[in-house]
Symmetry: C2
Subunit: 537 residues, 2 copies
């Protein structure tokens, strides 16, 4: 029997309108180079409505795809909101992809128009002729742009200065799409729903996740093209936080100065970024005391990193886990109250885990036998998740999800491809990507665990462990180590450091010193590149 | 075009299972008399499943109504979860209603079974023969109960010790019903949905509302039969908070000792209760320092009360507003960050307002001309709301809501019957119930504003203002004043105190001193009773 509550759809437009109504004076700061553009949510809101008129005038209708090829900026934020609110599908393009991959995803999504930063127009020039679906390119100009394409600012200036009448949208409608950075085969399209992002936004505002709130100053340094910018471009506006957008720079000096100058209270990024920032902070004193906590996610975060930030800067890391297919935030590490009195060392044991499922997300870890693994913090299994912001299938495959992608779906659960443990408190720890595990003599070695142990060495900045083929054991670990600036480090030092820290049979067969760990387009360790270089696989 | 996220229904059972999985060791404390019963969420969860077996064995199917006539206890909490999770509709009966009203709502809802505290069995005895729909009564026993009815504990002990298999429930299904305490005509049935309460729960956990979280100790002293207990019996369990249930006592001494002994961090109640507690605390020093904030709602909260708690106890009041039809929380008062530096006096001006709409709720205030009133903090109009946990109609009326109850619905908005203002920051302030306004010479006088001004007098404990008929002005205000214990107060003192505080034409025509303001069944000022006594209307 149905209840009698209003059938209000969970869509994004009401969140935008709420922000404009309740928090019109809050600031949005958009950094570019050494300059900062500032305006208020009131101005932002007015421009989003103008932009909606522009997008509609280009013939974009509900369900049409609109690409963006942009750095983090206020204009990108305008697109982030205007395109979904008018019922179209936002497709933020990963500007670090290779040309053929970019062309593939533009064609696969069927982007009818693309909004591009002037500085990125050379990328689109190179794709000319390969993306026939694109009818129009609109350029977000810089000081020097003088191209032939429609100018974003000119279009906005010419648009009606009236409210765009947002259509009534089904909450299950797609509002955006991101492509997985798929390390094998073509990228796959995740199609996000209004309902999913609405619920994800409400979740990010909860006390036991990240508590995003009006008094926050949120620094968006994760690229907005990476998995919805982790959801914070929506949460920050919806909750009336001040939002600081990073521009194109992700250098440690720029990050440090943004935190210091804007009095940032919360930010988030991949571990490699936090490593680089730590090295920078050690040499360039910077006031980061305004941060109330930060989120590290996207790949494994070394415990040593969490500990160093804690010890040196009193900064609380809140690790989390997610992926493009999970909108992306699915777990977050928070202490339970009964753990308050644990010794500091034990606390760091927990701080380096990936936490509990966010309210709304369910997870399970299945062992080889198909049963849930014991909650012992040791037994590894495949992490599976479900919930209203977890993908149910990939776009453009007519088969049911579990037939089309049995490697990704099982009994209504999404198979993450991550291997994890769960401890007695229910905290999960991601041990590895299935494909990055070292399978040695029928047992698994977690490359992530080994990396963490190595990165605890004071002379080491970064370390990546890959599997190399072995005639007897099938695979054995190889450690690739990057010393801190000005330091040198030897194989013997690393192996000695590891003795006693990991099981003897986990010790790498070899240690090579390299200049830098190659990174993927979103800043994660690119182990595929390392394997190509060192193991020939 | 639909997106591709999982179609996970927003229902209550997953929240229960999450709590049992992640927070099994958290305590639930149920007070009765001077004793406390304690168990863990693990035990609670096991008993909820047993209870579900019991309820199903009584022939209760999805959509059937199950009444409860209970004080706040762990058993009532078990019913709160078991009944909705198995798809039936929980109907908590207001045990303070008159017999004829109780019989009316039991029959109107069609309750098939009723779970009743042994101490409340005399109420049901009196209704014998008047509630033919009720097939079975189950008694929650006390030490002395020896009646003929099925014993709750015996039934649980005999039930299978296995998990009940929760059905898949449509998120729009009814999970519960509460009746408005309708001061005119028969009570009306609000039918709550799983979806609405799920979203309400997620809202209560947000940083900018009440931030309900795992480390909270929530004291449930609002009766659980009152508007879903304001939603906290769901939010506390879902977030893994420790929950303290008040038993039947709502005396200030019991409240004070519960806060002190259990180290309560958050609680909530109607203003009259806070007034009584303040008088108690002034004479019985009690450690309430564990409270991080409290919520006052349900009727107008005098500014003087908020100020006294702040000044004397450093306690932050977070006023809110809601009603049975809004599940119930719809607004909450939080400072915006730019207001941090306001002088203390001005801060209290804001603290005594009812705040901003909670994320998910939209509101508007319409003047006589049908347009939104200006945001000037002065112009009064009718408050209207909409959102996924706002009622769309009342049960058992076949006509569309706006035809069946035009006084309650307009263009998809719920008409609250409250008169409010909104200030330049968007904070609303409830000025009065429409029917409690004093209509004097074509102008409105807010009875609530007058009461607040009177209650700021140091000798006054409570004050209620009602309209009395006037031959020339149509209506004029009459003030009914209750002095603090041991104090006396005169008409002249009150009028002198009001001079300069309110407009001259607002001054009451008369002031009468009474022993106590009569209260409704949920502890609000009963102005109907006062009008019957003093104005003959």
């Amino acid at each position: 029997m149905f209840g009698l509550m209003m059938d209000t759809p969970l869509t994004l437009a009401p969140l935008l309108e709420r922000a404009a109504r309740l928090f019109p004076k809050k600031e949005i700061a958009s950094r570019y180079g050494s300059s900062v553009f500032r305006y208020t949510i009131r101005d932002f809101h007015a421009r989003v409505h103008r932009l909606a008129h522009v997008v509609a005038s280009l013939g974009i209708r509900e369900g049409d795809r609109v690409g963006t090829l942009c750095w983090n900026s206020h204009r990108h934020l305008e697109l982030y909101w205007a395109v979904p609110c008018l019922g179209a599908v936002l497709h933020p393009l990963n500007l670090r992809l290779a040309d053929d991959q970019l062309a593939y995803i533009i064609n696969h999504a069927g982007d009818r128009v693309i909004f591009a930063d002037a500085s990125l127009m050379p990328v689109l020039e190179r794709l000319k002729g390969q993306i026939p679906c694109v009818e129009r390119i609109i350029v977000l100009p810089d000081e020097t742009y003088e191209g032939p394409e429609l100018d974003y600012e000119a279009a906005l200036a010419a648009a009606p200065d009236t409210r765009y009448s947002w259509p009534e949208i089904d909450e299950r409608a797609a509002f955006g799409t991101c492509y997985t950075s798929g390390t094998t085969g073509n990228p796959k399209a995740v199609w996000y729903t209004h309902r999913g992002m609405y619920l994800h936004t409400m979740m990010l505002a909860q006390q036991d996740t990240f508590g995003i709130c009006e008094r926050d100053v949120i620094f968006q340094m994760v690229p907005m093209f990476h998995a919805n910018g982790w959801g914070f471009p929506y949460a920050a506006v919806a909750m009336g936080s001040k939002l600081v957008l990073s521009g194109r720079s992700l250098q440690p000096a720029g990050i440090g100065s943004a935190i210091e100058q804007e009095r940032v209270t919360f930010t988030f990024g991949v571990p490699t970024l936090w490593m680089q920032l730590l090295a920078y902070l050690d040499q360039h004193p910077t006031d980061i005391s305004s941060l109330r906590c930060v989120l590290a996610a996207g790949s494994a975060t070394p415990r040593a990193l969490v500990e160093q930030y804690g010890e040196k800067y009193g900064l609380e890391f809140r690790l989390g886990w997610g992926m493009s297919e999970t909108s992306p935030m699915a777990t977050v590490m928070r202490f339970k109250s009964h753990m308050d009195d644990l010794p500091a060392k034990e606390k760091y044991d927990f701080r380096a885990r990936h936490g509990l499922p966010a309210p709304g997300v369910e997870l399970r870890i299945l062992g080889d036998d198909g049963a849930e693994v014991p909650w012992d913090g040791a037994t590894m299994g495949e992490l599976q998740v479900r919930g209203p912001w977890i993908t149910s299938g990939y776009y453009d495959d007519p088969r049911p999800a579990e037939q089309a992608a049995p490697e990704s779906f099982q009994d209504g659960w999404f198979r993450t491809g991550d291997v994890a443990t769960v401890d007695a408190e229910g905290y999960i720890q991601i041990m590895d990507r299935t494909k990055d595990l070292v399978k040695s003599g029928g047992e698994w070695i977690s490359s992530v665990d080994l990396e963490n142990a190595i990165m605890a060495h004071p002379k080491v900045m970064e370390a990546a462990v890959i599997a190399v083929p072995h005639p007897k054991w099938q695979e054995r670990p190889l450690a690739c180590v990057v010393p801190r600036p000005g330091e040198t480090v030897t194989k013997e030092e690393i192996l000695e450091h590891l003795s006693g820290r990991v099981a003897k049979w986990w010790l790498p067969d070899d240690v090579v010193v390299i200049d830098a760990v190659p990174k993927t387009s979103v800043g994660k360790f690119n182990k595929r590149a390392l394997r190509a270089r060192f193991s020939g696989t």
